[in-house]
Symmetry: D2
Subunit: 337 residues, 4 copies
């Protein structure tokens, strides 16, 4: 098959990188190239069962141009993205960074990542890649910062409520988030060993997860208006978040669902469940979809919204490909389900 664009994948051995490869190997217009950026390191075996080209380069502008790449997807830790992104941008290719390196302001980064941002001058250029909320800025953009997995599910659930002005912000929102284990990445640790996770469940990073500032940034909530807890599900993939709010102005569940229906009308990847039905992870895993359902008790003014995505799909690789499609001017849904 001859496809129009070549896109490099750095970090293809991690879970998000492998998912990028899986998606791009069947993309109609983009052909993946595996980038082994740790040139000079001891040879490692190529990943099993892939048909794509594999090159060991240092991602210098010359090398990137020589490979004919139109874009590079960085599925790398933020430290590596901070090193590679400037080099790639200087080479003139489009960059989609899946790490947290370029999502926050310089001061936000310093607070949550415990280090001064080494490339603050690049931050204004990085478009936050949540297409349902920022499609215009993303179209044609050359540098896109792909959202975190938890914030993607949270913001798609919360932002329509804030926009519609129906939340009692004084009472605060709660976002109780649960993620499959692949969200923790492929690094080996006792915390993600099978016998610690299977047949168990636990909370972590309560009230202080690095993804919180991304939610606040998009929703423009104040820090004391949101309580967020991340929890580890004994499954491979999928994120489900349960959002609780109170409202003095909403009249019915029908009105609540109408807010989502209106906000996401025509969106190819957001599915709003009918009244009486709530999404589960089976409906979204291995897709780029976000499924949203809601319940409202008009008598007491309490609302619950459930938002589900595949953390490796809409929460990482799927959304990155959606952003790359928009950046390249392709059909936004190309190669995605």
């Amino acid at each position: 098959m001859s496809r129009t664009y070549l896109a490099g994948i750095a970090g293809f051995r991690g879970y998000s990188g492998a998912e990028l490869l899986r998606i791009l190997e069947r993309h109609p217009s983009i052909e993946p190239v595996l980038l082994e950026h740790r040139a000079g390191s001891p040879a490692e075996p190529e990943p099993l069962n892939h048909a794509s080209r594999w090159v060991a380069i240092r991602c210098t502008p010359e090398e990137v141009r020589a490979e004919g790449l139109s874009a590079v997807l960085l599925a790398t830790p933020h430290e590596v993205s901070l090193e590679l992104a400037p080099r790639l941008l200087a080479a003139g290719v489009r960059v989609i960074d899946l790490s947290g390196a370029f999502r926050l302001s310089a001061s936000g980064f310093e607070r949550w990542y415990k280090m001064p941002h080494p490339q603050p001058e690049l931050l204004p250029e990085a478009v936050y890649g949540l297409p349902e909320l920022r499609r215009k800025q993303i179209a044609g953009a050359r540098f896109i910062s792909n959202p975190g997995c938890y914030p993607t599910a949270a913001n798609l659930a919360i932002q329509p409520l804030i926009e519609a002005g129906v939340v009692n912000r004084a009472a605060g929102l709660v976002c109780d988030a649960k993620s499959g284990v692949s969200g923790a990445g492929r690094a080996v640790s006792a915390r993600t060993s099978f016998c610690e996770v299977a047949e168990s469940f636990s909370a972590y990073a309560v009230l202080e997860h690095r993804h919180v500032p991304e939610i606040l940034m998009v929703s423009e909530l104040d820090e004391d208006e949101l309580s967020f807890t991340a929890q580890l599900l004994p499954i491979n993939r999928g994120i489900l978040e349960t959002v609780y709010f109170r409202s003095g102005v909403l009249h019915s569940e029908r009105d609540l669902l109408a807010i989502y229906a209106a906000r996401y009308a025509g969106e190819p990847f957001v599915y709003v469940s009918p009244s009486g039905s709530l999404p589960d992870l089976r409906a979204v895993n291995y897709t780029n979809r976000c499924a949203i359902g809601a319940v409202f008790d008009a008598r007491t003014g309490r609302g619950v919204v459930v938002s589900a995505i595949d953390n490796l799909g809409k929460g990482a690789a799927g959304q990155a490909v959606q952003n790359l499609n928009l950046s390249l001017g392709l059909d936004e849904t190309a190669g995605l389900v």
Copy 2:
């Protein structure tokens, strides 16, 4: 082994009943007897691998006395408990009912179970069996209504906060609850088939679970002060609940933990995690323990409490044996870990 008391188990083929059997088979003072109350029904095979006596009786007073039973544990649906409890009480044996038949007031029962209570005159006699909150009433009681699994974890987490007066009730509490599949009982259904549950996660009975009124009854919260959601974990057993609250009077996480430490000092089955640590299900499954941990952000006044139990242990069979020990005047911890 010659043991002092004989206790019948009705409903021993369900998950809670099987767990009662597992616990009582190693209890030092109580010997289980399996009651097949559907006398006359076609013969069914006895459960595999148990050494206990099995009798098919209709639970008439004469039969119960003839068997020499001191107590009967009802691990039966509430419809069956409603039928058996009066008959057993008339026979003079102690009754521990694990169903929801006798937990609520007559009006509460009618609202949540969609039927008028057929035995309202028995309700005042039924002691709500949460020993950590009602130990005095339980000691020696002849009719104990064993709490629901969700309310046990919720009330042990919430009640100390309400007692201490530290919750901003106007802002409301959220209880986000997750349960293993055995909580749904053994009846076969598509919703609990392996391929629907494994590698998935979903919410159900949002804001309207039958266990909500039990939480309100114990905590004396108003209905509009609590949002409760039940969710299905892809595991066999275990409940973890994440409780969110706001406080204008608490000064620190240390103060929050001190409330629990004081409230549960000397309790054999409540474990309060040290600061910085939160419970997971591995620490409580196959035990009668409840493990509680807490986080508080003093700057914004937001608190999170995590409460974990085994839904078949402290949430059902373990607590029933704890109650039976108290009813019979035995050591409260006999036969339990």
Copy 3:
């Protein structure tokens, strides 16, 4: 997208049918149509989240022609396939039957399915659709009987050994097979409820599985030369079979692997692991691949072959689409990974 062929899917609510839908919705040349063959039954909700056309028909020749179908895939129980296949063939459409209705001889069917075959005259027409062994007969065929999941993995592992004449048949072969739960289909049963399967493992249908005669038929082994056991893995999908044999003529593991390499050279969906490596289910799930690895101890003449497929992919829907591609004269790999 305008695609060349319309293919009906009967039984689209089962696991294999849903997988057919998932595959065909991204097939470049075939467009799926969901067939509700139980016309007249009470209306059921359409399956969630699919974009395909849905028609309620009785599959009469007139209806089938009116819908413009080129083919129908039967993901139905064998009783339903026995009823629909003749009607569809009479309508002139291609039929791929995923059930066991047309796989065996009339006498074999009667023995293993405990009923006389009601359509024996159709049996000679039904081509056994294992492309790697019967590609020529399948190309252009109008009636294809799709192999069972267990026999697909078994025959791809065993047949090359038999062909090469390296097996000591007197000592017998053992095929120890393990399958994910979706292999049992979507019908609700206690045996496949979550709490019976999770954290457990068990054997069933030992020495007498209905799939045994399919293995014997293809391999031409005698019944006393093969011991086959099916076992239930606590996972959603995937089959791994471990085949044991003895050989007096093989000299080395290298020779054993060379047999597979030669037999499957150029096959797009069979992957032979290099020496020292064995397949796992992660490498084949959600694909149409069969992965095969082998170990041989030359000193004692004992060999072990491991064969892995996705029971819903190469074991059912994937292989059905591969067969449909061959039947229609399309690229055999179209729409498949």
Copy 4:
């Protein structure tokens, strides 16, 4: 509780060690003491939620005597057991070693563990602790080598067949073994991380597992008569082994089951399934039981035996306590279910 004997547990942080603690904490006559043998190493937190005494000692004879220990259970890697066992025996305490350090002959050890045995003079003293086959030697023994988990399930299934002389040894036996992940121990590795194991299944150490010589030693089979494969189940605990054999002398399944019934009559921990029923892991996990079922096809002379244990129970800690009971002259079943 005042209990008669103190037993040290070395390696209590591993899975087998933690299970020893769980069992001994409810043992009527033995009280556990946690031994931190790496004295001088940086302080580590004590294990959560245990009530037992914890001492940091180097296991010198003086220290061991000072602690008043009657026995020490070594749940340690074989390298550590090789170091500690002589020191403990010199101190005069009973030693139950759960590692492979003292199971094989010196030459067998050298072949399978790739190092010369450093304490060959101790080997004759070490009794192989499989009570159902060696009860007399174990009773009162001071040094017991606890069998491996795979060989326990295998030998209990195979040995009665060999003893009864019904196996056609020329055709060979196959033992296809599957184990939960805790069998791999607690050391962190990529191979046992959640996302590599969950929803997957794989074989390892085919034909060359270190446990093979233990099976040959007990059964007195020759190496070319047994093919053994170990496989990784995506569950926490439990081993199920499927044994295949051929017989020219057995007449019926009834005769096969009678062999097991006779061999294990009166055994408290071996359960032979009735005809038509086969064990699963739910029946044995969290117990010291071995459950055995069998199928025989008299027409073709092929037999299948299924053997199930908890790898941490009868396969490790449970059996170690059974051995300790025998060594101390206690009731063999004390503290065990």
